[in-house]
Subunit: 173 residues, 2 copies
DNA sequence: TGCACTTGTTACTCTGAGGTAACACGTATG
DNA sequence: CATACGTGTTACCTCAGAGTAACAAGTGCA
């Protein structure tokens, strides 16, 4: 519900009805709407980070890691469009608290990417580009998900990794 | 106000107060809060699109266009952080209508980028990568703006254009 | 001076939705 | 059978905030 209609577009009654219960039941498990939303963000975000971390850890060499990392990302998206929309969709409205939660996720993804970037540039420059590559995957995914198109993560991962890897080899201070 | 606190985090009283008037005055100019918000999105978005279009039109050759395009983007961001946050910040909550408005902007930016991509790939693949590059610039900017860091658009544009251009030369079907 | 018009303000209505109090129903336990 | 408890529901309270009605105050024109 949150993924598709946003935080403010989803009432606790909506959530309760979708869960097949009534509102007070929700409040037995979560202190507030915000609390429920945060739990959801954390859950979904951690799944993404875990997938990426595992994928890059299990690959040898920068190029392999790049491909596996993007592959894991796009598999995560393809596997659960709603999860992507919840974190990165345009409906995801955020207050102070959830903004931090999302920032933690993107920063985590960037941290996984940063080491892949040529070492002959400054740390700050590298972090900046790392966040750019996270945005690259996000931009690609948003278009496909919001248009409702299905896609092959294998193909997409390869295509985007090609661009990213070649780009990363070219950067310098 | 909308850029910093989001649509739902900003009341019409807030807007009115910031404008030095009272609420009914706003309703003499705009039919509804939504109407005001949409006018703002359109205004700001068109400024971005115009800047990019002009920049790429005035450049000769793909590489030049790439650099000038990203430069224009980052100049727009550096010049008005709030404008960026309004369209792409994490606080930007969006209903159906504003989502379309934003999509029009990103699609417009992608359209300006798409022709730069090597022609030996399918049109769909090209559009996908174009949206990815828009996301690239967005990801880079979001980090810098939300961290409140100031930056030099000239340097940043060059760095990102280097990555993008090298990446674009490497893509194939 | 007096009337119409523009432009603003104060003070109100009303609805959506978050959150809660009180109550009903099924099930283990003495 | 009766009591206590867990788990759910209905029905309510409350309040922020969008939108409006009624009213004040300055300004051009006869």
């Amino acid at each position: 519900m949150f993924a598709r209609n946003g935080f403010h577009g989803t009432s606790m009654n909506d959530v309760a009805e979708a869960a097949g219960v009534t509102k007070p039941v929700l409040y037995q498990h979560f202190d507030s709407k915000q609390d429920l939303y945060m739990a959801l963000l954390d859950e979904v975000g951690n799944r993404l980070l875990t997938a990426i971390t595992k994928a890059t850890a299990g690959a040898a060499g920068g190029r392999q890691q790049t491909e596996q990392g993007f592959l894991a990302y796009f598999q995560w998206v393809a596997n659960d469009h709603d999860a992507f929309l919840l974190l990165f969709g345009s409906r995801a409205s955020r207050d102070e608290e959830s903004t931090h939660a999302i920032r933690r996720i993107t920063a985590g993804a960037a941290d996984a990417i940063a080491p892949l970037i040529a070492a002959n540039i400054g740390a700050d420059h590298r972090r900046t580009l790392a966040h750019g590559l996270v945005g690259l995957a996000e931009g690609v995914s948003r278009r496909l998900v919001e248009l409702g198109e299905s896609f092959d993560p294998l193909v997409l991962g390869k295509q985007v990794a090609d661009l990213a890897w070649a780009g990363l080899r070219a950067v310098h201070d």
